[in-house]
């Protein structure tokens, strides 16, 4: 059977998602054996950036004209485009100030040369192109990446269960930081898959994997406000990885 061809790339991001692949040390030889890596600037020098591929796995948010061009280019030459990581799927950390004036922000950072900055608000892929599959996470989980690669070998995508971090957290018999310790934990709103890594270590869920489908945002807000957290603080925490929430959403 012909090996599927693959491109791995990044837009505005920290490259941490791509690093997830390189961190799959035990599986890398197998991955390299079953995929034909056509283009992977972070891992392989001299790739072919024009060839068509079966799948493009791309991290980062779209925030520059170059990003957009790269994204459109990757979309048009790949059969499947995978948004890899929270930036690609939701906007991520780069987008946390999207609600503020971009002109003001660039002035604060770049002073006199702010006018020359061509960047725009960091946005997720689906604002611009059709996305075939997405893996959330900052960074994404190895297991989910490997499950994706295994499925791609068979021409399909894996199915990840849709439930919040709380589910995995309770299953691990963790102490509930929200209920027991009255901390600002976003567990009920956030898509699981991380095995509740942070709460298991006593750290609240910061929401790095983005919203779970049908998150009851309004109820979580009410609960946190009852616990004494100001609305602004809750919103600012929620925006850290995903800029746009519907704070009234219940269903």
């Amino acid at each position: 059977m012909k090996k599927p061809t693959m491109a791995i790339a990044g837009l505005t991001a920290c490259s941490g998602c791509q690093l997830t692949l390189l961190n799959c040390e035990a599986e890398l030889p197998e991955v390299a054996g079953c995929f034909d890596l056509i283009f992977f600037p972070m891992g392989i020098s001299g790739g072919d950036e024009c060839a068509s591929v079966d799948v493009a796995i791309v991290e980062g948010a779209v925030s520059t004209p170059d990003d957009l061009e790269t994204l459109l280019h990757l979309r048009s030459r790949s059969r499947f485009l995978v948004a890899f990581g929270t930036c690609a799927l939701w906007g991520g950390v780069a987008a946390m100030k999207n609600h503020e004036s971009r002109t003001e922000l660039t002035k604060i950072v770049y002073h006199d040369v702010a006018g020359e900055v061509l960047t725009f608000n960091p946005e997720p892929f689906h604002f611009f192109v059709t996305v075939d599959f997405a893996i959330p996470g900052c960074p994404p989980e190895k297991d989910e990446l490997l499950a994706l690669l295994s499925s791609l070998l068979r021409g399909s995508f894996p199915v990840f269960p849709i439930y919040p971090v709380c589910t995995e957290c309770r299953n691990r018999e963790n102490r509930c930081l929200l209920v027991e310790d009255n901390e600002l934990c976003l567990g009920p709103l956030i898509q699981a898959g991380c095995g509740a890594r942070c709460p298991a270590a006593g750290i609240v869920c910061e929401g790095c994997r983005g919203p779970v489908a049908e998150a009851n945002v309004a109820s979580e807000m009410e609960l946190l406000m009852q616990k004494g957290f100001p609305r602004e603080e809750i919103i600012s925490r929620m925006r850290r990885f995903c800029p746009e929430w519907n704070y009234e959403q219940r269903h």
């Binding site: 059977m1 599986e27 295994s150 269960p161 309770r170 018999e173 209920v179 009851n216």
Partner: protein
């Protein structure tokens, strides 16, 4: 008279003796302060005053996530082999024993589940009497008459009165009889529980509280976090997923605890959802817990352990339905 009394002084030795029959597990406090069934390293770790563990003992027979089948092109699909390691599970309150009895009916009767059978056989159940708190509503719903145990230990100030519920339990008691003495057991104190009678009556008449406004209230608050069913001793809905391996040939099939309040529970291929709203999912949950489906129709599966009310972050309590109705009447 049979030797049936275990003094508090002999209790540590009794535990040591139990450990000879398998790995001893029981309620302990984890490092984070969570009550959980875990291996007992030292008798001092056992939490005899434990009201309830976070996750019920079902995890021993039906783990949160497990591989059920493996696939290879040569051998096709094959059942995975459950470890079946011998475990002595100590400290099961009557509600937890009742929970296990319910799961036994589900997984052992009409269509025995091979993995459940194997694990269940390997576990010896040691019951322990308890003092209910404000979340419990057990009454006779499993508790006044403990059931489904190998050994039950009725705790008093001076020690424990033991009774055997199976030949396996008898054997263990016989083996450890040097630690026991013969004493007249105290007569059981009936457990008062008003809500229990209300629940049983409602279940008998097939009450669905269809007109109640509480459904909407529940649905508006529920975070779909899954805690109520993960922590329920009798919730057993599961989801099935298959994962191919990187070799492109072999695969494994997993089953994982599911929750009727999750979006995907009533969804079919193509995206149509037969329980589209959280309110419909709540009604479904109620129906499953108190009225039962299929072969378990008519059996109240709530054992009154109080876990769901205790763990819910937004304090949703299905008992309110019964109470609301009782007030109206």
């Amino acid at each position: 008279m049979q030797k049936n009394f275990l003094s508090n002084e002999s209790f540590p030795l009794f535990l040591q003796g139990l450990a000879a029959s398998g790995d001893l597990h029981g309620p302990v406090l984890t490092d984070d302060g969570v009550m959980a069934f875990r291996p007992i390293c030292s008798p001092a770790d056992i939490q005899l005053d434990c009201i309830r563990t976070l996750i019920p003992p079902k995890k021993y027979f039906f783990p949160p996530k497990e591989a059920i089948l493996t696939y290879s092109p040569v051998k096709g699909y094959q059942l995975t082999k459950a470890a079946g390691k011998k475990v002595i599970l100590f400290g099961l309150h009557p509600c937890d024993l009742a929970g296990i009895a319910y799961l036994d009916r589900v997984f052992l009767e009409s269509q025995p589940d091979p993995l459940f059978v194997k694990r269940r056989k390997a576990v010896t159940l040691i019951g322990l009497s308890c003092e209910p708190d404000e979340y419990c509503f057990c009454g006779t719903m499993g508790t006044a008459e403990p059931q489904n145990f190998d050994i039950f230990m009725h705790r008093t100030e001076a020690g424990f009165y033991l009774s055997a519920g199976s030949s396996r339990g008898k054997k263990i008691i016989r083996r450890l009889s040097v630690l026991l003495e013969a004493r007249e057991p105290p007569s059981p104190v009936p457990c008062e529980c008003k809500i229990e009678e209300t629940i049983l009556q409602a279940a008998t008449r097939g009450e669905t509280f269809s007109e109640s406004r509480l459904w909407e209230d529940f649905a508006g608050r529920c975070l779909s976090c899954g805690a109520c069913s993960l922590c329920c001793p009798t919730c057993y809905c599961f989801d099935v997923q298959e994962r191919g391996r990187l070799d492109g040939e072999t695969a494994e099939r997993l089953r994982e605890w599911d929750n009727c309040l999750f979006k995907s529970h009533g969804e079919v291929a193509g995206g149509h959802n037969f329980r589209k709203t959280r309110e419909e999912r709540f009604r479904y949950r109620f129906q499953h817990k108190y009225l039962g489906f299929g072969p378990m129709r008519g059996i109240v599966s709530c054992v009154g352990c109080g876990r769901c009310r205790d763990v819910c972050p937004v304090k949703i309590d299905l008992m309110e339905l019964f109470r609301e109705k009782a007030n109206i009447l």
